[in-house]
Symmetry: C2
C-alpha cells in the first residue's frame, strides 16, 4: 500500500485538484484507492460530489475517536472511496492540542483499517498549513507529493515544508520520504516558470543523502493551466469524467502513469 | 483611519498580492499606510523586500507582548510601513490558545499605536485559515475586503467566511462590516467566471439588512490574471514599481481609486 500525503502550506497550488484527479485516475487503472480529505474546507469531498452535512460521519469523527475509517469512507466510483471532511474538522486542531498522541491519530486509524481491508493507494489532501492535520498526514504517510505552482512564493515556502518533513521523519515516521514535486498551474512559455524550475532542480541536486528528499525529483508530467480543471469540481466530477480529452485530463493521465510506473515490487 | 482585513480562508486567491498592491497604491496617493503581515508564510513582507530574519522584530513579538507596533514597523517606501512576519508567527496560534484575551491582542496594539501616530490606512494580510490570527484581524478591523478567484471552490467557502465575520461582529467588534469582494485572477471570457459572478451577485442581493455584509458589493475593478503580478514579488516590488504600464498595474490602480472614492468624510 502506498500512503501519499499531498501537501504544501502555500495556498491554491493545486493540492485538492491533484489529490482528486490522481485518486480517480489510479482507481480507473484498477487500484483500490482511498482519498482522505484533511482540509476543513472540504473541497476534496465536494469535488467528488460528497457533501458531508448533518449526520454523515466525517474524518472529524476519526480524529475524535468516535468512528473508525471503515464507517466514515464512502464509495464514490469503482475502486474509489472518500473519507470526507467538512468545517467541523477545523475544531480538531484546537481539541487535539493537549492530546498526548495527537500526531498519530490518523496513522493508527489507517493501521486499524488495514487489518480488514487492503487498499492499493491512500491519498491525503492537506490544508494550506503545517498544523496538526498536516502533521498527521506526514506521520501516516510513506510518501510526500508536493504540488507546486512555479511562482516566486512557491520557492520561499519549500525549505520550511521540507524541514517539517525531516522533523516528522526523525521523530515520528522513519519511513517517510519525499517522492516528488508536481508542477501545477503550469504556464508554458513564461520565463517565471522556467526560472523557478531551474532553481528547483538546483535545489534538489544539492540535497544531502540523509534527507527525506534526497531522491525527490520533479515529476516529468507537468499540469498545465486549463480552465476545465476548474470547471470539473462544480459538477462533482474528476477531470476524466468531465472532459476526458482536454489537456487537463491528458496531463493528469500522464501523471497517473508515471506514478504507477514507479511502483516498487510490493 | 480605515482598518481593513484582507481575508479569505481559501488559499491562493490573491490576498497577499491585493494587500501589497493596495497598500502601495494608497501610499503613492499620499495616504499614510501600514501593512500588517499576519501570515506565517511572510509573503507580504517578502513581496516588499523585507526579510525578517535574526533579531529583526516581527508581528510575532506584538502577539507575545514583547514589542509594540511602533518598534516592529519598517518604512519601505514613502508613506508605506510594513509590520513584517515570518514563520515564528505559526507558534502564536498555539501559544494564544489559553490566553484570556487572545482575540483582541492586535486591536489593542493598534489602539496603542494610534495614541502616537495617525495612519490613514491599516491593511492586514491574512493567512488561508479562520484561526486566531484572522480573528485578530477581524476584531481590529473596521472593514473586510474579500479577494476571491471566480472559481467553484470560492463560492463554497464564502458562507463560512461571512458567518465568521458575523460572529466576530456580534461578540467582539460591533463596527465590523464587509465592504466588498475583489475579483482576482479574473480570466475574462471564461463561462466559469461569468457564472460565479452571477451567483455572487444573487447571493449579495438577498442578504439581510442586519448582516455585516448587507452593503457589500463586488468592486467594479476586476484584477485580471497577469503574469507580471506574479513576477513582481521576486524583485521585492509592488506592481507599480515593477511594471507600471501592465494590465496588473492598471487594474490595481483602478481598485485604489475606487477605494479612495469610497472614503466617508472622516
Ligand atoms: N491546472 C489547473 N488549471 C486551472 N485551474 C486549476 C488548475 N489546478 C487547480 N485549478 C483551480 O485553481 C484553484 C486552486 O486549486 P486547488 O483548490 O486545487 O488548490 P489547493 O492547493 O488545494 O488550495 P487550498 O490551499 O485552498 O487547499 C481551484 O479553483 C482549482 O479549481
Ligand atoms: N492577478 C494575478 N495574475 C497572475 N498571478 C497572480 C495574480 N494574483 C496573484 N497571483 C499569483 O498567484 C499566486 C497566489 O496569489 P497570492 O499569494 O497573492 O494569494 P494568497 O491568497 O495570498 O495565497 P495564500 O492563501 O497562500 O496566502 C501567487 O504566486 C501570486 O504571485
Ligand atoms: Mg485544497
Ligand atoms: Mg498570502
Amino acid at each position: 500500500m502506498r500512503t501519499i500525503a499531498v501537501m504544501n502550506q502555500k495556498g491554491g497550488v493545486g493540492k485538492t485538484t491533484s489529490s482528486v484527479n490522481l485518486a480517480a485516475g489510479l482507481a480507473a487503472a484498477g487500484k483500490k484507492v482511498l482519498l482522505i480529505d484533511l482540509d476543513p474546507q472540504g473541497h476534496g469531498s465536494l469535488h467528488l460530489g460528497v457533501e458531508a452535512v448533518g449526520e454523515i460521519p466525517t474524518i472529524y469523527d476519526v480524529f475524535t475517536g468516535q468512528k473508525p475509517l471503515s464507517v466514515v469512507r464512502h464509495l464514490v466510483a469503482e475502486n474509489l472511496w472518500v473519507a470526507p471532511s467538512n468545517v467541523d474538522l477545523a475544531a480538531a486542531e484546537l481539541e487535539l492540542v493537549d492530546a498526548p498522541n495527537r500526531e498519530v491519530v490518523l496513522r493508527d486509524a489507517l493501521r486499524k483499517l488495514a487489518e480488514t481491508e487492503a487498499f492499493g493507494y491512500v491519498i491525503m489532501d492537506c490544508p494550506p498549513s503545517l498544523g496538526v492535520l498536516t502533521i498527521n498526514a506526514l506521520t501516516a504517510a510513506s510518501e510526500v507529493f508536493i504540488p507546486l505552482q512555479p511562482h516566486f512564493f512557491a520557492l520561499q515556502g519549500l525549505s520550511k515544508l521540507l524541514s517539517t518533513t525531516a522533523l516528522v521523519r526523525s521523530r515520528l515516521n522513519r519511513s517517510l520520504r519525499v517522492t516528488g514535486i508536481m508542477l501545477c498551474l503550469y504556464e508554458t512559455g513564461t520565463r517565471l516558470a522556467a526560472d523557478v524550475c531551474d532553481d528547483l532542480n538546483d535545489f534538489l541536486s544539492r540535497s544531502d543523502s540523509d534527507m527525506p528528499w534526497a531522491d525527490a525529483r520533479i515529476f516529468e508530467s507537468r499540469i498545465r493551466r486549463n480552465i476545465k480543471l476548474a470547471e470539473a469540481p462544480s459538477y462533482g466530477q474528476s477531470i476524466f469524467e468531465y472532459a476526458a480529452k482536454c489537456p487537463g485530463a491528458e496531463d493528469y493521465g500522464n501523471l497517473v502513469s508515471e506514478v504507477l510506473a514507479m511502483e516498487q515490487p510490493a
